[in-house]
């Protein structure tokens, strides 16, 4: 039987995952608070974090639910935010493709921004790692993060129930989004994608069912991809 557990790699993963507690904890806490302030029961707030495990998508759903957007629009918008997970999945497939079915399913569940970033950096740096070592490292990297994500959501939900409404928390979600956008603006392509998204969303804000957001998302993605293509072409022709 092939062993999929390598203690050394598991512990290395745990060590590398630990610093993310500083980001994930407060973020989940905030989600718990904002979700209960928006009227979600504690059970549903926790279910969100356990089932979806994607902060940006969860906040997106919360905002659109508060705006009473149609259910389909809520789900579609939140999943669009999560499309990058498909990119992570594609990128890790050469490393994990040979795992048995349920282990691949487990990796898929544990695939978040942090675990992806750690895994891809480590696997590219140490190309000699075996399949079992890679799986152990991945398992280790999410071991501190996931329980913290659930627990902080629960604490946030309980705290949120105690905070009186009308604490200007209406703006907590926009601030959280803006805080996430800043670090994403790494290249000219990212900046222009964001700018086009903003302008398009404001122009098409009159559309029903938040369809303006869908238009803005498409326009932003096309802009980013096109700017990246042009930039690469300009660099290659030099």
């Amino acid at each position: 039987m092939t062993s999929y557990f390598d203690r050394t790699e598991f512990l290395r993963g745990v060590r590398h995952g630990l610093p993310f507690l500083l980001v994930v904890g407060p973020f989940a806490l905030l989600f718990g608070v904002v979700a209960t302030e928006a009227g979600l029961p504690v059970v549903q707030t926790l279910a969100f974090s356990v089932v979806v495990i994607a902060g940006a998508a969860q906040f997106t759903a919360l905002q659109l639910m508060a705006e009473n957007a149609p259910t389909v629009v809520v789900i579609a918008s939140a999943l669009t935010v999560n499309l990058r997970m498909a990119m992570y999945s594609a990128s890790l497939t050469p490393h994990f493709g040979a795992l048995p079915f349920w282990r691949r399913a487990f990796v898929a569940y544990g695939l978040v921004d942090q675990s992806y970033a750690l895994a891809i950096i480590e696997f590219e740096k140490r190309s000699e790692m075996s399949l079992g070592q890679k799986f152990s490292y991945f398992l280790g990297s999410i071991t501190p993060v996931f329980p913290a994500w659930y627990a902080a959501t629960l604490v946030g939900a309980l705290v949120g129930q105690a905070i009186p409404p009308s604490f200007a928390l209406d703006f907590a979600v926009p601030i959280t989004f803006l805080a996430m956008i800043g670090p994403m603006l790494r290249t000219k392509a990212h900046v222009l994608a964001a700018v086009v998204s903003v302008i398009t969303a404001l122009i098409f804000a009159f559309l029903p069912w938040n369809l303006g957001l869908m238009v803005a998302a498409a326009a932003g993605m096309i802009t980013g991809a096109e700017v990246e293509r042009q930039t690469e072409k300009a660099r290659d022709s030099k």
């Binding site: 407060p26 973020f27 009227g39 549903q44 979806v52 495990i53 940006a56 997106t60 759903a61 905002q63 705006e67 918008s77 939140a78 999943l79 669009t80 935010v81 499309l83 990058r84 997970m85 498909a86 990119m87 999945s89 890790l92 497939t93 050469p94 493709g97 691949r104 399913a105 990796v107 898929a108 200007a168 209406d170 703006f171 926009p174 601030i175 989004f177 803006l178 805080a179 996430m180 956008i181 800043g182 994403m184 990212h190 994608a193 964001a194 700018v195 998204s197 903003v198 398009t200 969303a201 404001l202 303006g212 998302a217 326009a219 932003g220 993605m221 802009t223 980013g224 991809a225 990246e228």
Partner: protein, 106 residues
Amino acid sequence: MNEATTWIIIICMGIGSFGLRYVFLGIIGNRQMPEWVLRHLRYTAVAVLPGLVAPLVIWPSATGGQPDPARMAAAAATLVTGYVTKNILWAILVGALTLFGGLQTL
């Protein structure tokens, strides 16, 4: 929004999010994705979140859709802090302080 609808949203988002994470790992395997698809996927988050947040900043629901200087200042402070520090938590903190400061004074 009633409780049953919320459950539907949670469950569909769970299935959808898992599907997105599983699609290549589990089903497509080692086949290569077309470059143009990957190129678009790279910009999904940065194309969705600004579009989502822009109307909320310009026409906040709490003021009945009237532009509000305190909220605009908080939005600008958050974005700039996030961009400069690359740190989400610092950005949230600066944004929240700007908002409460602004609501007190403006």
